[in-house]
């Protein structure tokens, strides 16, 4: 398993245990996970972004910390924000992060998330030239999320 996934899991468990808010020291977490500190930064910047519904605050220097807070919004609002944040292009990694996050937060069923992931996969889009796949992904996923919301 990737270090990235381990760190994600660990942070999610912290969020779970503390009802939506996790605070830690970057170096300490890196130590317990057995990775370099910048890996923590990588995980946060790729997996706990505002688009994913997380607020990240931090402070450097002595007594520094990183705090991640799950933004509390009802499902429709969260979906709307998400759809608006997607724009014209969506790479597959981000698509995957979005969908697993929605499933994790129980905004989508695991089944819906899997179907959507399939719909935006490279396999499904193989008929399109690689350089427009990200545009297709954006269009497809936005439509799917809207559909999932309105068909609830």
């Amino acid at each position: 398993m990737r270090m990235t996934d381990n760190v994600v899991q660990y942070i999610l468990s912290l969020l779970e245990a503390e009802h939506g808010s996790a605070e830690f020291r970057r170096n300490e977490l890196a130590e317990t996970m057995g990775c370099v500190p910048s890996q923590i930064s990588y995980v946060i910047s790729s997996r706990f972004t505002p688009e994913q519904g997380y607020l990240v605050e931090s402070r450097r220097g002595g007594g520094g910390y990183i705090r991640i807070t799950r933004v509390q919004r009802d499902a429709p609002t969260l979906l709307m924000h998400l759809v608006n944040s997607i724009g014209e292009s969506l790479d597959r990694t981000t698509a995957g992060v979005i969908l697993s996050n929605l499933a994790e937060r129980k905004i989508l069923s695991v089944r819906d998330a899997k179907l959507m992931a399939t719909a935006v996969s490279d396999q499904a889009l193989s008929a399109a030239a690689p350089d427009i796949r990200d545009n297709l992904r954006a269009g497809i996923l936005k439509n799917l999320l809207m559909a999932a919301y309105s068909a609830t």
Copy 2:
């Protein structure tokens, strides 16, 4: 015996051992089979297609993998016939007919059918030039049908 057939056999045995889903690293498998990595890609693209009842997922980069999932053993034969009849191109009218038919016959839930219809709609595919949309529809729908009935 051809290398291709050896690789097919090996993957089939993995699928058997793991009840319908096999995950491996392309390079590793190539190593154990004694072939170049791209041969694995060739085998997958020619022998583990949706037409043959398989769904393929993959990831690049560190910790990358290829995962092949077989369709459920009790998947409706109609579904498989359908996937085979689709070919390289599927116009939106036919897609609509197919999906409402599947829902009608209760092979798909109404929700799944609606999501799939959204995924192959012109709206969702607006980023693609009109002349390739039918090709995209074919690829997307075939993959979605496999996903809806994939083992595990």
